[in-house]
Symmetry: C2
Subunit: 329 residues, 2 copies
């Protein structure tokens, strides 16, 4: 294992310290329990709190800031945050309008966010994201996994909360956005959790894992490597089969890298996915390309499509000012 | 070689097509010869044109837009753009105030930008970036290589050009910023140029290349893997030896990933570099962390320090709106 670390035990706290130093104008890092909150704290709005295992950066801490999250709770690498992290973060950012938890569908995350919700003194609601169409249940999840669609939920609901929507409206919108997103990924290589010291799984030089999870969980099937156009077609077709968008409906196409794939290839895959959509008469209204929901240094990528109605389009375009996503302000 | 490509010959044009589709509101992609220009074109300002081999994305095309470049000319992977690409781009974006070329110091780039300057009908000037302190000459360069400091030059001079500075002032500022930047990188793995099909160099599981170039050129020395703090100290100390900043002087600390290193590790390295600077009584006034000047999927990173005077600080903070760098607007 070759990594820029000092000690596998301290990877997450040391990285959080760096995040805090680099983005003092946006966020502050709290220790014991560890969470990242907006700086300064927002007032008079529903507080959005998310979190999950580390190793998926910039998700979630990179999305803390104006127009998106109020706090993020990072667990150890690929390990759920604890209920006390989540409840401490919620207590700090809650400002009288309630707390909305955005949770990716993994058993540990679901359980620990539930416990944090029970510990909360004010009103809370939860949006569960389960956008991964690859498999119907998986190593760490009952029913579908939550993956890159989580960014879309956090951006759109974050904009609504910023604009003053109440807790019930934010929760209802979050459910709608979560259902409007579908994703599927593919891995060319595994990744290595620092504390494990060896790759999570193995792939030969001639194999790829279609439908891989963001922790390296198995996907639909292991296949021989193939051209980018064929990979993009398989991902797009699986998503379209599930999402069934109408012709002319505005779609967000989000081409997400898993951390170890060059941007050059992500743009090439975006082109391939866009051509597949165009061949089906479908319309790309918004685009996003980059490493946003990652799996450490895994070489791979995912495609997310979101069916955006008028309200969602407007909220997607609304200003956002975070470490990893910034526009319009 | 496992990559998301269709054919090694078409990687760059296909990726450019994806870039153009994803960022229609910022740039347009021209074919034959290939270059990327702002859309719409800017008026009444010095036109900034850069370029170089592909494989370093988002450099340079990701920096085309308001407040930064007017055009970028991408060569094949790790191959200089041709003079006709550069002169075609310059002719399109030139708008009466002259053209400033920002060139990384590699022999092919220098020669081809010189030929393009000779072909230009209007006034041109050139800023040569050679911020890599690792080695005094290298595989593709006489004297120092140009690396991540190029981003700093493009951002600051881009802001000056946007504010109306004339060609001579932009060129003089560019020289000052280029001299104010120093960088050094380290590789944990090699990278594979698609057309070559095999890694550019090899490193064992227990080695790192200190001072590596962004094309995988040899650095200062190959060393045994060591903790992040020791790596950061070696990079920072080499840079400080060269740059000799004064205590209290405002510094930009730019922790750049080479493409295959997780953001988690980049933030950890930022923390390590920041602690090394603090130990020397030095002040970080501005920060940047991420994969901006990459070497395909190389695992590795570089540290860039820039001594920013008042004017440079103001121009660094000025609004920028490109695919890869966006703030303040």
């Amino acid at each position: 294992m070759k990594k820029f670390i000092n000690d596998a035990v301290n990877v997450v706290p040391e990285a959080l310290r760096g995040l805090g130093l680099a983005h003092r104008e946006i966020l502050s890092v709290h220790e014991r329990p560890a969470f990242v909150a907006r700086a300064p704290l927002a007032k008079d709005k529903v507080a959005l709190v998310s979190g999950g295992g580390s190793g998926h950066e910039p998700l979630h801490a990179g999305f803390v800031g104006y127009g998106m999250l109020d706090a993020a709770c990072p667990g150890q690498v690929f390990t759920s945050p604890t209920p006390d992290q989540i409840s401490a973060a919620a207590a700090i950012v809650e400002n009288g309008r309630g707390v909305l938890f955005v949770v990716k569908n993994y058993s540990g995350d679901v359980m620990n966010f539930e416990m944090a919700a029970e510990m909360a003194t004010g009103p809370t609601a939860t949006v569960l994201v389960q956008d991964d169409v690859a498999v119907e249940s998986s190593t760490y999840s009952t029913s579908r996994r939550g993956v890159a669609g989580t960014l879309v939920v956090e951006k759109i609901v974050g904009a609504a909360a910023e604009a003053g929507a109440d807790l019930a409206a934010c929760a209802a919108l979050g459910e709608r956005v979560a259902r409007a997103c579908a994703s599927m990924g593919v891995a060319l290589t595994s990744c290595t959790v620092p504390a494990a010291g060896k790759p999570t799984f193995t792939l030969s030089e001639s194999e790829m894992e279609l439908g891989v999870g963001i922790h390296g969980e198995p996907g639909r099937r292991r296949v021989a490597t193939r051209p980018a156009d064929a990979v993009a077609a398989e991902l797009v077709d699986a998503i379209l089969h599930d999402l069934a968008p109408r012709k002319g409906e505005p779609l967000l196409l989000f081409l997400n890298g898993f951390g170890g794939t060059p941007l050059l290839e992500l743009y090439l895959m975006f082109d391939a996915a866009a051509r597949r959509l165009a061949a089906g008469g479908l319309t790309i209204a918004r685009s996003l390309v980059g490493n946003f929901v990652t799996s450490l240094e895994m070489a791979g990528c995912s495609v997310t499509l979101a069916r955006l109605d008028e309200e969602m389009l407007r909220l997607w375009d609304a200003p956002v000012h975070t470490a990893a996503l910034r526009w319009g302000r």
